[in-house]
Subunit: 156 residues, 2 copies
DNA sequence: CGTTTAGTTCAGAACAAAACAAACCAAATG
DNA sequence: CATTTGGTTTGTTTTGTTCTGAACTAAACG
């Protein structure tokens, strides 16, 4: 089993790629994923990652703007406690993202396919069938995601 | 319908993100996608994209190293004609990439889940079921990709 | 009010990525 | 064998990102 810091690093790299985050923001996000819902204070983010106040502030604000994290306060405690925004919805929003991606992918493939139909007829005839087949795969994929999404929605 | 240059730009942006390519390399890739299998010469890449010889050279070499493009020569013509490497396999390799992604995703989710099982029991109990459900989705997704992949493999 | 606490803001340092320009090389051509 | 053609290599410039550090704000506390 990886140690906590190791796992933060591994997960951080992954999140960096998945959500196109700067390194520090991704590490903080990873840290919060591994922390229970009491969350982390600004100060904890600062010391856990050895970064400057400015960097931590920027990273936390970015994650908030992206809807990834929120904070709460305790009465009689001025500090913000940051937590991931909707742990219940974590997988659900992954599925929603997936749905968007499929849509985008289909859109471009159709754009290119239409272009070929008009301007590259030979090519269109040679590969049109594969394109159809891939579009069909996208449809099936979409249905599968949609079905899982429905299950996750009931869950909430 | 978008014009050819517009489509190159749109597709270019998409490919940039999909394969993590530098802008110029992605535009050249897009250009080749819209060009029939006669391909494009170095000179054409150069003038189509208004870039310097050095940049085009670097971009083409990168795309070759990534296995995305190849070139052929005509007897009595010193120029290289660049084409996309395996148009027949285009969708197939997209599916193969998809398969790898699913594997990575599962790996991290399991890593995090194991961590929670040991170090974050309450949290594990609250969300473990969702995790299971998502892992199941990944399995189904994998099967679907695998099935499509088999169809595409026969095709070749 | 002065001070402490909890952050924000912003200029700029440090680094990384992408493209350029010019010199270079190697094969064909006259 | 000098020159053109088709690229490659190398050093530089441009551009963009990420983080820092220091000055600042705003709320609470005594």
């Amino acid at each position: 089993m990886p140690s906590r810091p190791e796992l933060i690093e591994t997960l951080g790299v992954h999140l960096e790629a998945e959500y196109d985050l700067p390194p520090l923001a991704a590490r903080i996000y990873a840290d919060l994923v591994l922390t229970d819902d009491t969350g982390l204070t600004f100060e904890a983010c600062l010391s856990n990652h050895g970064a400057s106040k400015g960097s931590v502030s920027t990273a936390l604000n970015l994650l908030q703007k992206m809807g990834i994290i929120t904070y709460y306060t305790k009465p009689g405690d001025r500090r913000r406690h940051f937590t991931i925004a909707a742990r219940k919805a974590f997988f659900r929003s992954k599925l929603e993202e997936q749905l968007k991606k499929i849509g985008k992918d289909r859109a471009i493939i159709q754009l290119v396919n239409n272009f070929n139909k008009q301007c590259n007829k030979a090519h269109y005839e040679r590969y049109g069938e594969r394109t159809e087949s891939y579009l069909e795969f996208l449809d099936q994929s979409e249905s599968l995601v949609q079905a899982s999404l429905d299950r996750f929605r009931k869950w909430n």
